[in-house]
């Protein structure tokens, strides 16, 4: 998943519009951007981004007041009914959006060279890469910080073999005591991922682990 130096070099070289060179420079010290996309489906090859949100993180602050939020009007694909169920953005809502060719430049300027934080962030980046490739002949070169793997380290990093892993976003939030906001809203998801990131990063710095429930201590079977 890590993008190697060679990749970065390649995309930097192939960058069509040199106004975007800033993407390849490291962002301001201690800053990151938490990002989330809502899409029409789970296949970056076919599906489209219909909304995207990002919030900057500076030190231990989530700069919610400087958020980036956009609804994207897909230029071709129709939102699949499955995806509508997931994020409740209907075609009508998407109609009011902007096409990606307008959204992306603003988003990239918002992100700059900062690392990207998210839950399953690789998926969001791959979705965005699709547009970036066609518009700028580049991919997003930003380092990625995966919340679920930070969580994995804190909780399952030393787990004995046979442990069942549960990396669902809801479980991450529950273990960290973060009140769940309404999910599948790009901004809420980005904010929750940012909260989880700050908590996990700090726990890592302090060497604090998340307690695992022992197997067999779950709720007793109810027989029905």
């Amino acid at each position: 998943m890590r993008r190697g130096a060679l990749w970065r070099l390649f995309y930097r070289a192939s960058l069509a519009d040199h106004a975007y060179k800033f993407l390849f420079r490291p962002g301001p010290e201690g800053e990151a951007v938490s990002l989330d996309c809502e899409t029409t489906g789970l296949d970056p090859g076919v599906d489209d981004v219909i909304s995207v949100a990002a919030v900057r993180i500076r030190g231990n602050r989530i700069l919610l007041s400087e958020r980036f939020e956009a609804t994207v009007r897909p230029e071709d694909a129709r939102s699949s009914s499955e995806a509508i169920k997931v994020h409740r953005l209907r075609e009508r809502d998407v109609e009011g959006g902007e096409p990606m060719r307008r959204v992306l430049p603003e988003l990239l300027r918002f992100i700059g060279g900062r690392p990207l934080v998210g839950y399953y962030i690789d998926f969001d980046v791959r979705m965005l890469d699709k547009y970036a490739l066609s518009l700028l002949q580049t991919k997003l070169p930003n380092p990625q910080i995966e919340v679920s793997s930070l969580y994995y380290d804190r909780k399952y990093g030393n787990a004995p073999p046979g442990t069942t892993f549960d990396l669902r976003f809801a479980s991450v939030l529950r273990d960290l005591g973060i009140p769940p906001l309404e999910q599948h809203d790009a901004l809420n998801d980005a904010v929750m991922a940012a909260m989880a990131y700050l908590a996990l990063r700090d726990m890592k710095a302090r060497g604090v682990r998340i307690r695992r429930e022992r197997s067999g201590q779950g709720p007793p079977p109810t027989g029905g």
Partner: protein, 605 residues
């Protein structure tokens, strides 16, 4: 986008929709490590913190004042006055919304309800929050039951009686309407019907009532809501409706009765007390005084005003009862005392009766014995719970000649037991409500003469405030309840009211101040330079907070029939803003206790 910020959480519930949007747009989120100091005491803050998750400890020089949890906000003092009142430290991984200071200040300037949360003066805070608890007002009136509106009595007359007899009947019963019995049917005749019959139709006075009354009686049940009665009145264009209970006519509800409900009919009670001809007739207004407390509270009247109205009415009641029961010898020689909270005028819901009788000269023992029993017995009957400490006319210690009581007071002064100190305190609050007020003046002068400036005696007296501890709100609620030991209950009387009342009482005795109300004593103490006016105001404010919270829990206890725990407040069931006020009030009490402790060197005990 919701962003998880709960705008229903006080004080944000006072913001308009646009103001909420403005606030949401400006929010940031901060993460704090366990042990990280979020705000240091005396420091300024650039944002109002609203806890999202985690917990934050508020400490005052090491003393844990509170543990703040989700939805609690801090620190209004740091924001508005530029100096935090406490140290705020994250107790665990904590996330907070950060509302930027300029946004908060802007909202404070525009929205007085919101601004109230940030006043440092607890009394101002409380005043503004009284609006939030604004009781249902008119709504509560319409939701009252017909019986609560005190409908007038049902007076019957036979259908064969004459118009003239009906007129006399109305005059005798003081009612403007009669029910007419005509075999199986029932009719109604009003004063207006009589006038029309005699004046307009020139019917002879011998005309039977049957011919001028009407039989289409509009009636409601005593258990119906007042608004139903009001609807019937409007629909039938009537100014009164008959009241039924179990199918029987028991009275009439008039539009004026409903008006009485709106204003509370406190103004009617003195008249009814005055008109009572015996103890039995006094029982109804005595009960109404108590019913008034709940009604006034429901209508959003402030607690100190409720206390004032109630104590005024109670005093009238005592005066009347004294006049009814005391034989001439006692009326001439005696002085009826109200003591304790009744004497201070700070009682709302009746908790006990603290009363006594001072005599100039001994009176006939038989007279006195009969009076003692009759007086205290009557109060029992009116629903005044007996005083557990026996501070009642019934107790010979509290109904004796002046010189006897003065001797008794000296004994208590020397006895140095908590009970003795309590008795002195109760007596020091006494007011004379009937008879020879000079007797009380003399007795109090004797007490003050013994105590004034006597550090050792006063210290012994003041030591009573150490009886109960003043808890730190939040410590119990957050930890103890969480781990299941103890509970989050706060006894507002022990933790709040008593330390203030008794501390102030001690200072008043020290300086020979004769006012009895705690607020009045505080005023006199401030004037005498005992402490700063601001601190005096804070104490009065704190006292009112405890009175208000206690009244709420008392009314709740009365409803549940659990009067033992009438003073108990559970912070976990309060809103964040209410907890904030209670926390402020408890902090003031602790400061005041320290003042008293230092002044009388109570650490030496």
């Amino acid at each position: 986008m919701q962003s998880g910020f709960d705008a229903h959480n006080p004080p944000f519930d006072r913001l308009s929709q646009t103001e909420v949007e403005e606030l949401r747009a400006a929010l940031d989120i901060g993460y704090f490590r366990p042990g990280e100091t979020i705000l240091a005491r005396g420091g300024a803050s650039e944002a109002l913190h609203v806890v999202i998750k985690g917990s934050v400890e508020a400490r005052d020089e090491g003393t844990l004042n509170a543990v703040l949890g989700p939805k609690d906000s801090f620190d209004s003092r740091a924001l508005v006055h530029g100096a935090a009142g406490e140290d705020f430290t994250a107790a665990e991984e904590t996330l907070c919304f950060l509302v930027p200071k300029p946004v908060v200040l802007g909202l404070i300037a525009r929205n007085p309800g919101f601004a109230a949360f940030f006043y440092s003066e607890i009394s101002e805070k409380l005043n503004a929050f009284a609006d939030a608890h604004r009781a249902e007002g008119m709504e509560s009136v319409l939701r009252a039951r017909v019986r609560e509106a005190n409908p007038g009595p049902a007076v019957f007359i036979d259908a064969d009686a004459t118009v003239e007899q009906a007129g006399h009947r109305m005059a005798e019963s003081g009612s403007n309407v009669l029910l007419v019995r005509d075999g199986a049917r029932t009719g109604v005749i009003t004063g207006m019907n009589l006038s029309k019959a005699a004046v307009l139709r020139r019917l002879p006075l011998e005309t039977p009532v049957r011919e001028v009354c009407h039989f289409d009686v509009v009636a409601v049940d005593a258990e119906d809501f007042v608004f139903e009665a009001l609807l019937l009145m409007t629909r039938h264009d009537k100014r009164r409706v008959a009241v039924l209970r179990d199918g029987e006519y028991v009275g009439f509800l008039e539009d004026i009765d409903i008006l009485g409900l709106v204003a509370g009919n406190t103004q009617l009670i003195p008249g009814r007390i005055d008109r009572a001809r015996d103890v039995e007739e006094l029982a109804a207004p005595a009960r109404d005084i108590q019913a008034q407390v709940e009604r006034l509270h429901r209508q959003g009247v402030k607690v100190e005003q409720i206390a004032e109205v109630t104590s005024d009415l109670n005093r009238r009641l005592f005066v009347k009862l004294f006049a009814l029961l005391a034989p001439p010898s006692i009326q001439e020689q005696g002085c009826l005392l109200l003591m304790g909270s009744e004497g201070r005028g700070e009682q709302t819901v009746r908790t006990d009766q603290d009363n006594g009788l001072l005599l100039a000269e001994p009176v006939l023992e038989a007279d006195l014995a009969r009076f003692r029993e009759a007086f205290s017995g009557a109060l029992d009957g009116f629903g005044f719970p007996p005083c557990p400490g026996g501070v009642m006319v019934r107790n010979p210690v509290w109904s004796q000649p002046l010189d006897g009581l003065v001797r008794q007071l000296r004994v208590w002064v020397m006895e140095r037991s908590p009970d003795a100190a309590m008795n002195l305190g109760i007596f020091f609050d006494a007011v004379a409500v009937a008879g020879r007020a000079d007797l009380l003046r003399d007795a109090k002068a004797a007490l003050i003469g013994t105590m004034r400036g006597e550090r050792a005696l006063l210290a012994r007296f003041a030591h009573l405030i150490e009886t109960f501890d003043t808890p730190n709100l939040g410590v119990l609620s957050a930890f103890m309840t969480a781990v299941g030991v103890g509970s989050d209950e706060i006894d507002t009387k022990k933790a709040g009211t008593f330390p203030i009342v008794h501390g102030i009482r001690t200072l008043a005795m020290d300086r020979g101040i004769t006012a009895t109300a705690t607020a009045g004593r505080i005023g006199a103490l401030v004037e005498a330079g005992a402490f700063e006016p601001e601190f005096g105001q804070e104490l009065v404010g704190a006292l009112r907070v405890f009175m208000a919270y206690r009244l709420r829990s008392q009314l709740e206890a009365v409803r549940r029939g659990d009067v033992e725990r009438e003073a108990v407040v559970r912070p976990s069931r309060l809103s964040a803003a209410d907890r904030d006020i209670l926390r402020d009030a408890l902090r003031i009490v602790r400061r005041f206790r320290d003042t008293i402790r230092n002044r009388y060197n109570l650490g030496a005990f």
